[in-house]
């Protein structure tokens, strides 16, 4: 017996296994970042003084990075849509762009980190910087994870396009859902850390 509903949707649930699995994974991710955001709220509520994010961080650069990530979400959608339309070359183009934008984000973030280090704004300095480094660092790790997955589908993984087309499209869709989630986390992180 083969495992059913790896590709086809189960009629009564309207889902295939991969899609349900990725949504559950994202639910757990919500709880992970939810826990960290709760920690942020609790620490800030209990703090006697809390620096304004914009006095320590570079808001224009942060805004630029926000735009980069939103752009990468758009290209990710295009990549998936191209597969749906059967255009593999366009998929390669848009997926490549997504990966490129992700690297751009990391590069900019790296520059910001370098700036912090040279100004001696290290995590041990105060609780604000501690949560800044931890949250952005963990988010950065999620970006790296996304780059690895997307690169796999851009490169060696794309051989599935010729052998198991439906399954490949599903997998790219799941990767896309993850990628949108990582963007969404940043949409919350940016105002919380940079603006408030």
């Amino acid at each position: 017996m083969e495992i059913p509903y790896t590709v086809a949707e189960r009629p009564d649930t309207g889902l295939n296994n991969v899609k349900l699995g990725i949504w559950l994974f994202l639910a757990s991710e919500v709880m992970l970042f939810g826990g960290l955001f709760s920690a942020y709220i609790l620490l800030r509520m209990g703090a006697t003084e809390w620096p304004l994010g914009s006095t320590l961080l570079n808001v224009p650069i942060g805004t630029f990075n926000t735009a980069v990530l939103i752009g990468s979400s758009v290209t990710m959608v295009m990549a998936h849509a191209s597969l749906k339309l059967g255009n593999f070359d366009k998929f390669r183009l848009y997926m490549g762009l997504t990966i490129l934008l992700a690297f751009t984000f990391l590069g900019v973030k790296g520059y910001e980190y370098w700036e912090k280090i040279t100004h001696d704004h290290l995590p041990a300095q105060n609780t604000y910087l501690a949560i800044y480094w931890t949250l952005t660092g963990l988010h950065g790790l999620h970006i790296v994870g996304g780059i690895i997955v997307n690169s796999y589908f851009w490169g060696p993984g794309s051989a599935m396009w010729r052998t198991k087309r439906e399954q490949f499209i599903n997998r790219v869709e799941a990767a896309g859902l993850y990628w949108h989630f990582v963007d969404l986390v940043w949409i919350f992180l940016f105002p919380v850390l940079y603006l408030l």
Binding site: M31, L36, S38, L42, I131, T134, M160
Partner: protein, 596 residues
């Protein structure tokens, strides 16, 4: 399989994986078959249970005879831990922290969820395997690695983690290196149970056989499903907390460190501004649902065994399922009843005391329904049923003794005393662990085609049952006297403890007797693989789908794809040919065509 290119390979892949010749490593070590993974989980978890229990048997020596030299093995513990065979308090603390960690995260949960969930759940829903077999393999190996890191931490400088299994900050932040190992081990274990939880939920929702609607699911599957949701949603906040504590320990942040801490006359170099309470909130947000992760699979196992051996349907199936789901939901809003003594405020205490009283309702519904299920049945008493029957009153004691702890006023007296230890051990040890033994005796014939020896099983049962009560009942007495739970000498130095010190000795003899009776189980477990009585596919005459598969089930589980025609517990149906009607048995003629 994903990268097949030539037409020949594609054709081969489409034939399904059962035709591949698997190497020894693929079959038994890096297996993707849910049954093998289930057995791997179960055996590994039982080894950890034995190890964690051995730590406790050592601790019981220090509690019963503080300052006395430990006979025979005392000198093997090393001069840094037990000079002259006399256990040091520092070493006792390591044993205490690791006993809790190992029993909960490496023993009971992997056995109840990883072991039974993996082996039984796909069979009970008529699935060929778990939804993501590769992920399943990864989750076992992540668990295994986490376990290795935890055990290895005993050899770290300063020994293993020693801040209790709860790792309360700031103590844990300034503790020795073993704590860092503990945190890294926990991250592996959390990853493992996250992957496992996703797999269980997808499997239970997507891979049900045709006709197996949600209200036809065996109660065990429901219990595993709710448990998986708890693991999925409760563990990530602990992962967050673990990351924060790692930052505190390694990078020097102050998430959990308040300002102005002084240790041995030296002010600590922390910027301060952190909150020790934050750790407790994040920890208990996991660890309270974790309590239900420990108990729900046990309830699932007991329900299956009770229905099978009373030869009648479970009483109140719908109420049971409803209570289970409600219990799972409520378990997320009771965590701070562990924190009444922290000074978090009376408003918070009142809220969590109320939710705690509410959550006791579905627990009582489940226990009552299981008790009522016995009424009017023609009860058989094979070994699994003995364990399942013992679970009911034992869990009852555990649950009822929890009520005074859930009320903030009496908790002032009971908090951190042996009463608490007695309470939760009654839930987890004579409760869950007896149920897990029941499950092992019950499903052993499915995994091996043979039943375990009856006489050895009965000795194991009566010995364990009595010994467990000898261990834990005295703890209520010492606890009511106010003896603190964390003292390595069992309260020797305290005036209020003098009258009850004798009970420590009773408890200790109970623990060692409990250890002795496990020898019967260990022998039986291995001996019966080859020498147990051979039985057919359905030795207990049960109704659920796993008994329709061959014993042991082949790769892919079922010889013909199963179809479900009825509810899970059709025992003693009037007019039926036998006193059990299997779920996969079509009526003659079938009045309702199977629906997906």
């Amino acid at each position: 399989m994903e990268n097949v290119t030539t037409a020949e390979q594609i054709a081969h892949a489409e034939h399904g994986h059962e035709e591949h010749e698997l190497s020894f490593l693929q079959t038994y070590v890096f297996s993707q078959d849910h049954k093998v993974i289930g057995i791997q989980y179960a055996v590994t978890a039982m080894l950890f249970l034995l190890f964690g229990f051995s730590l406790m048997m050592l601790m019981r020596w220090s509690l019963a005879f503080p300052g006395a030299s430990l006979p025979v093995i005392g000198n093997l513990l090393g001069q840094t831990n037990a000079p002259g065979g006399i256990m040091l308090p520092e070493f006792y603390n390591q044993l205490g922290a690791m006993h809790g960690t190992i029993m909960v995260f490496l023993g009971v949960v992997p056995l109840a969820v990883g072991g039974f969930g993996n082996f039984v759940l796909p069979l009970q829903i008529g699935a060929p395997d778990m939804a993501f077999p590769k992920l399943n393999m990864f989750s076992y190996w992540a668990f295994f690695l986490g376990g290795v890191v935890m055990i290895a931490s005993f050899f770290a400088p300063g020994g293993a983690a020693n801040s209790g299994w709860t790792s309360y900050a700031p103590l844990s932040v300034i503790a020795t290196q073993g704590q860092t190992w503990w945190l890294i081990g926990m991250i592996f274990l959390i990853t493992s149970s996250l992957l496992g939880a996703i797999n269980f939920i997808v499997t239970a929702i997507q891979l049900r056989a045709p006709g197996l609607s949600f209200m036809r699911l065996p109660f065990f599957v429901w219990a595993q499903l709710v448990t998986a949701f708890l693991l999925l949603l409760a563990f990530p906040p602990l992962e967050a907390a673990g990351v924060l504590q790692l930052m505190d320990r390694l990078v020097g942040t102050s998430f959990f460190m308040p300002a102005g801490l002084v240790v041995t006359d030296q002010p600590l170099e922390y910027s301060g501004g952190g909150s020790p309470l934050l750790w407790q909130h994040l920890f208990w947000f996991l660890a309270h649902p974790e309590v239900y992760v420990l108990i729900l699979p046990a309830m699932g196992i007991v329900a299956e065994i009770v229905a099978t051996n009373t030869r009648k349907p479970l009483w109140g199936y719908k109420a049971l399922v409803g209570s289970l789901v409600f219990l799972g939901f409520m378990s997320f809003v009771v965590w701070a009843h562990h924190m009444f003594m922290t000074g978090m405020g009376t408003t918070m205490s009142s809220f969590f005391q109320t939710t705690t009283m509410i959550i006791s309702i579905p627990s009582v519904v489940i226990l009552s329904a299981l008790f009522i299920s016995l009424y009017g049945g023609s009860i058989r008493f094979p070994v699994p049923m003995l364990f399942a029957l013992a679970f009911l009153p034992m869990f009852g004691i555990g649950g009822l003794t929890g009520l005074p702890l859930g009320l903030s006023a009496p908790d002032l007296h009971f908090h951190d005393t042996y009463y608490v230890i007695g309470h939760f051990h009654y839930v987890v040890a004579p409760g869950t662990i007896l149920a897990l033994f029941a499950g092992i005796y019950h499903w052993y014939p499915k995994a091996t085609g043979r039943v375990m020896n009856e006489l050895l099983g009965k000795i194991h049962f009566w010995g364990s049952f009595i010994a467990m009560n000898v261990v834990f009942m005295p703890m209520f007495i010492t606890g009511l006297a106010g003896v603190n739970r964390r003292l390595y000498d069992g309260g020797l130095e305290y005036a209020h403890a003098q009258d009850v010190l004798g009970w420590n000795v009773v408890s200790s003899y109970g623990a060692w007797a409990l250890g002795f009776f496990q020898i019967f189980f260990i022998f039986n477990f291995f001996w019966s693989i080859r020498h147990g009585k051979q039985v057919d596919d359905n030795p207990w005459k049960a109704t659920t789908l796993e008994w329709q598969a061959p014993s042991p089930p082949p790769h892919g589980n079922f010889t013909t794809p199963p179809e479900v025609h009825r509810g899970p517990y059709e025992y003693s149906v009037p007019g039926a040919a036998t006193d059990f009607t299997m779920q996969g048995q079509a009526s003659d003629p079938d009045p309702e065509p199977a629906q997906v």
